[in-house]
Amino acid sequence: MARYIAQRLGYSLLSLFLLSLTIFLFVRVTGDPTTLLVEPGASQADIDAIREQFGLDRPIWVQYWSFVASLLQGDFGQSFYYRTPVLELYISRLPNSLLLALAAMAFSLLIGIPSGILAAVRVNRFWDRAGKVFSLLGLSLPSFWVGLVLILFFSVYLEWLPSSGSGTVWHLLMPAFALGWYFAAAHMRLTRSSMLDVLGSEYIKLARLKGLPESLVIAKHAFKNALIPVLTLAGINLVIMVNVAVVVETVFAWPGIGRLLYEGITFRDFPVVQAIVLLGGAMIVVVNLLIDILYAVIDPRIRLEG
């Protein structure tokens, strides 16, 4: 067990190292990084200060080392626009992003799990086909367009819901729907296939042979086991939601990390953009590690293989 965890931890650290190296190299290779790291219209003294801080005249590995050293101290640079450390900005926006992601996740599971089960139980019949159409639509409609159409319908024509901002439950409804839509389709697909796997297994046959009514077989025996992969995916998707919410947050002016990223682009606030990519990647690496460990705890076969 300890060996397995150590190995996973090693891989994750390697991933984090490659992540920082990738971002670092992209910034350095594509031109003079000072133009990105210094505000447009900065004085020569500021430019020199940045050159000094990152040692841009020194060899590239020395530069990389000072880059990583400042990251490890939590120093992601200063935002040009807000004049505060980027990390502080990020942390101040994180609760909003998490709130939106949790709401979207709740919505996607509420739609995805029941419809996935229904599709699996009625495989190749009407509900399964309807579900297929639904999931194809979900995977093909861009979330920001869903958001725009929702605003058009519920805010402009019906005047039921506020089109932008945050603060009340009403503000949360449309962004959560727009963001969760795609994931509802993904969760439905996985629930269906996972449920089909479980329904074909021996212990379900046994439960049926025992004479249990089909509803009980599904609700009590199949459902619980079919849910494990779905909840795992949901865990990863929660992190992904925080990171893909940028367009939805922009559409609804939701003050989360995605909105921060959008502001970073429009105000040419490069340190903000860079920090969001780095932290987003790091979040995904960490969540993958946690899931690997969790799986090993649950399932001894995995840790013995590793």
């Binding site: 490659l18 992209f26 031109g31 861009p142 367009w145 402009v156 682009i265 995904i284």
Partner: protein, 293 residues
């Protein structure tokens, strides 16, 4: 090279003979969009990039205040929406296809090299692939666009750089089993260099999978391009891209100018949905190994 003609098993033709469930409508839609994209100059009634400011926010022809001159209305600069949609099809087609090809070339090459050579090369490539997969795709694309600046060419390269990982993973897996097959061993015995084997014996056998993956990626790439353009880091204005039109459409949305928001989105949806349906069908018919995806 005598054995070459026998050595390479031809890609399965079964899928082409049995065309049950052929997604006719999606293929027609894609062909229609391609047709419109190619003949945009002939089909568009107006210049897509120049508008008349006196003709701002005209509604579509069938609504009160609309005219036959602007069938689908005009936008905030008085530009003809139909013409912009038509030229937008060209942008989506060109960016979508070239980006999928760029990603495919990078991913397939790395997948073949990684799978065939194995050892430390494989380790390095797969570690890099894992790291790339950890990067949130859209955020990563935005970051790259922020560095190099927006242009159509840059978008293609960025999308290629972001989306090659899926090809690399799948192709590598296939190469691992291919390289144990007789025809590859015979090629080794015959004294073919590693390069020749990878190019002449491995590559033709993974092309099928690469094409299926490419079709499935087309939808993802087009949505990403639209999102980047919508955020202002994609195709630069005044070029008519569907995502850009949606961003412009926000200017008239709150007063109910629905056509500026609904129409470009419908175009994106039709194209992505068609690509997904075609990709799904190809996956099942041409490449049983990919059914699990």
């Amino acid at each position: 090279m005598v054995m070459r003609s026998e050595a390479i098993p031809l890609p399965s033709r079964a899928g082409i003979v049995r065309i049950e469930g052929f997604p006719l409508i999606p293929v027609l839609i894609l062909a229609g969009i391609a047709f419109v994209a190619i003949f945009a100059e002939l089909l568009a009634p107006h210049d897509p990039e120049v508008g008349k400011l006196v003709a701002r926010f005209h509604p579509p022809a069938w609504q009160a205040g609309g005219s036959m001159d602007h069938l689908l209305g005009t936008d905030h600069l008085g530009r003809d929406v139909l013409s912009r949609l038509i030229f937008g099809a060209r942008v989506s087609m060109v960016v979508g296809f070239t980006a999928v090809i760029v990603a495919g070339v990078i991913g397939t090459t790395l997948g073949i090299v990684s799978g065939y050579l194995g050892g430390w090369v494989d380790q390095v490539i797969m570690r890099v692939t894992d790291t790339w997969l950890a990067l949130p795709a859209l955020t990563f694309a935005i970051f790259l666009a922020a560095i190099v600046g927006p242009s159509e060419m840059n978008i293609v390269i960025i999308l290629g750089l972001v989306y090659w990982t899926r090809y690399a993973r799948v192709i590598r897996g296939e190469v691992l089993s291919l390289k144990e097959r007789e025809f590859v061993r015979l090629a080794i015995v015959a004294g073919c260099s590693k390069r020749t084997i990878m190019r002449r014996h491995i590559l033709p056998n993974v092309l099928n999978s690469a094409i299926v993956l490419g079709t499935l990626m087309l939808g993802v790439v087009i949505v990403t391009e639209a999102a980047l353009s919508f955020l202002g880091v994609g195709v630069p204005p005044p070029k008519p891209a569907w995502g850009l039109m949606l961003a412009d459409g926000k200017k008239g949305m709150m007063v109910g100018y629905w056509w500026l928001t609904v129409l470009p989105g419908v175009c994106i949806m039709l194209m992505v949905l068609s690509a997904n349906l075609l990709g799904d069908w190809l996956r099942v018919k041409l490449d049983p190994q990919l059914r699990q995806l």
